[in-house]
């Protein structure tokens, strides 16, 4: 069926033909949608397009305005805080839970279901319910106060200094279960002999985890990392549902800036400039790594 199977050597293009044909949807998606869409976005970020894309070029105007906008700066800072904490906490909490779950515990199914179910709910729902729980009038604060501690204050969603952590609590609630599952799966795939060997050598358990098991779980960590990181960059619905970016502009994020300026402000150029900045940042971090990870190594 494929050229390769024959003894002869057909032309290069025809080699592995079925695989190429089968990959057409992937190639189209990669080239037309992701690459094409990105180029299109970058090109139009240099225009003054308003409601509809128009090829009236204005140089770097949109970028100058973008970096002058206090809201954009706040958005970037928030993303950095949210991103760093989400990355660290979901990996740490996810791994700890997974390691605990891997100790031959009873009720494993129950615990796993409990940790994982939030992932089945959308960010809209997550934002809504945490807004409700963190509401000072009804939620945690009022309950603690009614227990007698009347000066207790816990209103992250109404305090500009800590609001992003209120969003973080909700985000972690939604996402760590999946991380736990991925890492648990990774742990389960580690060869038992490794543990035996480390026991024979008298290596303490935590050291075995840190220096032997975790490095062996590299692929699963990479999958997890891609999932977490792509979620961080795209964070939008959660903020909209939980805080709408408030109080003031204290919990704004870049994806929301993009969306608001594209559609509410009807300034596509500005929205595209903002999304180009996001893409550039992602590209600088991801592309070299992704190519090394997925492209460089020869496999199979």
């Amino acid at each position: 069926m494929t050229g390769q199977a024959h003894t002869g050597r057909p032309s290069k293009l025809l080699r592995n033909l079925s695989s190429k044909i089968a990959s057409i949807p992937m190639m189209l998606t990669a080239v037309v949608i992701f690459l094409g869409g990105t180029i299109w976005t970058v090109v139009y970020s240099f225009t003054n397009s308003k409601l509809l894309p128009r090829a009236k070029f204005v140089g770097f105007d949109q970028y100058e305005r973008l970096w002058d906008a206090p809201r954009w700066i706040v958005s970037i800072q928030n993303l950095a805080i949210y991103g760093a904490f989400t990355l660290v906490f979901s990996l740490v909490i996810g791994f700890l839970l997974a390691a605990l779950m891997d100790q031959k515990i009873r009720f494993e199914n129950t615990f796993r279901t409990i940790f994982l179910y939030p992932f089945a709910l959308s960010f809209i729902v997550t934002g809504l319910v945490w807004q409700w729980i963190l509401n000072p009038e009804f939620g945690v604060q009022s309950v603690v106060r009614s227990l007698g501690w009347t000066s207790f204050t816990f209103d992250p969603l109404y305090n500009a200094d800590i609001v992003i952590y209120g969003v973080l609590i909700a985000g972690l609630w939604q996402g760590t279960g999946l991380v736990m599952c991925l890492l648990l799966a990774g742990l389960r795939g580690i060869d038992e002999d490794i543990w035996k060997a480390s026991r024979v050598d008298g290596i303490p358990m935590w050291k075995t985890y840190l220096f032997i098991v975790i490095p062996m779980m590299r692929p699963v960590f990479i999958t997890t990392l891609v999932i977490i990181a792509s979620g961080i960059v795209k964070v939008y619905d959660l903020v909209v549902a939980q805080t709408s970016g408030g109080p003031g502009i204290a919990s704004e994020v870049p994806a929301k800036y993009v969306y608001d300026y594209m559609f509410q402000a009807q300034n596509l150029g500005q929205g595209f400039a903002a999304s180009t900045m996001m893409l550039v940042t992602v590209a600088i971090i991801i592309v070299p790594w992704a190519y090394l990870e997925f492209g460089g190594r020869k496999r199979v």
């Binding site: 509809l52 408030g246 003031g248 509410q264 300034n267």
Partner: protein, 411 residues
């Protein structure tokens, strides 16, 4: 994207598979989903169905922010609805320029909209290059201060008659544990409150110079500085509001948890729903009791260009239905807004609505910011004022500087 080719593609792709079912089903999209709003839409649908066509409802909640991208995508994607709500003003300008919207001039001339529709600025907002592209359905005005009589009674002070008295009464309210001024967290509320303060405190002319002529010097001047001082007061008075939605803020006024709220006439529906009576339970001060003008913003329907002849005809019928006297009365009573024509009888209107009608009849009207500024400048303003109201460390002077920048870059 080339506009011309887009129109051509539009023409090519608009062959609808559903057209066969019933040629005069018209899909109408809008973002009126609350109780009172839906009841008002039902009046429109009822009247339109009576003409032999069918109103197919496509409601999307969440106001412009959620609904507008969907509407614009549908129109530019070549699968337009038959009619769609926009705030009239500059929102749909480009769709019109791209040739995607239907010209209603024929209907308008036939039915003499030029003479019927009052104030004339409403129709002006629908007019681009001398052609009419939308049918205005109502007038909403922002310039209202809603006060809770109960809250002032609790605080032991008289119900204020204007903004200054209100500011003076604030400490008493605070002492009684009442938030003097409810301002919800949605950015447009803070921005709207500022615009209202500007008209009330600096007056109509300054307002027109700043937003109409985009005059930087006036925006940087002492008049606007006074407005920012007032906004600073408002910010102090709004501390502790802790709600998001405008109607939750209104609810604080209704229940006496807040002294007052600066909000458009749509707040009235909330008071009515709660069974409150104007004058007895609450007080309304148009123009904050300082400058009695009302702005004529509002909603309008736009009609995307369709290929189907039957549907195009039905679009005309819908347009004329929307502005017909009977529909105007029925719709606006439910919506709590004012009709777009002066020749209809609104005997059933309540006290506050009547105050509004009076001001309208006197001709004390201004164009609202939506009609003067682009959505882009509006959004920048929203960002500024939502930050200003949430962040006490931002001085009025700094805020004014940023405000001047926005006005300077406005088109």
């Amino acid at each position: 994207m080339k506009i011309r080719s887009m129109a051509a593609i539009l023409a090519a792709t608009v062959v609808l598979p559903f057209a066969a079912a019933n040629a005069t089903d018209l899909e109408v999209t809008h973002w009126w989903t609350s109780g009172g709003e839906a009841a008002a839409v039902a009046e429109l649908a009822k009247a339109f169905d009576a003409t032999g066509s069918k109103w197919v409802d496509g409601a999307i909640a969440g106001s412009g922010g959620t609904a507008r991208p969907i509407m614009v995508s549908r129109i530019t994607g070549g699968d337009p609805m038959a009619a769609t709500q926009f705030n009239h003003g500059r929102q749909a300008e480009e769709l019109v320029e791209a040739g995607l919207m239907r010209d209603l001039t024929d209907v308008a001339t036939r039915e003499n909209w030029k003479d019927i529709i009052k104030p004339a600025s409403l129709l002006d907002s629908c007019t681009i290059d001398g052609k009419i592209y939308c049918a205005p359905v109502n007038i909403h005005s922002w310039q209202w201060l809603w006060l809770s009589n109960g809250a002032f009674e609790t605080a032991g002070v008289a119900v204020p008659k204007n903004w200054d008295e209100f500011v003076a009464a604030a400490p008493a309210l605070e002492k009684a544990g009442i938030v003097p001024l409810a301002v919800g967290g949605q950015p447009w509320q803070a921005a709207g409150a500022f615009d209202v303060l500007m008209v009330a405190i600096a007056g109509k002319d300054v307002y027109q110079k700043v937003f109409g002529d985009k005059d930087e010097e006036v925006a940087a001047g002492p008049d606007i500085a006074r407005v920012f001082k007032a906004a600073d007061d408002a910010r102090r008075m709004s501390k502790g509001t802790n709600v998001q939605d405008w109607n939750q803020a209104t609810n604080m006024v209704i229940t006496g948890k807040a002294g007052g709220q600066i909000m458009g006439d749509w707040a009235q529906g909330e008071f009515a729903l709660a069974g409150k009576v104007a004058g007895k339970d609450y007080t309304c001060l148009p123009g904050l009791g300082v400058t009695e003008v009302i702005a004529t913003g509002g909603d309008a329907f736009y009609f995307p260009l369709l290929e189907d002849e039957e549907k195009s005809k039905a679009q005309e019928v819908l347009a004329s239905t929307l502005v017909s006297p009977a529909v105007q009365v029925a719709f606006n009573l439910k919506k709590g807004s004012l009709p777009v024509r002066g020749d209809v009888d609104l005997a059933a209107a309540n006290d506050c609505m009547k105050k509004g009608l009076e001001i309208l009849a006197k001709g004390n009207v201004i164009q609202w910011v939506d009609q003067l500024l682009s959505a882009d400048s509006q959004k920048q303003k929203e960002d500024l004022f939502s930050e200003f109201f949430a962040n006490p460390s931002m001085t009025p002077e700094d805020a004014q500087k940023r405000f001047v920048d926005i006005i300077a870059s406005a088109e």
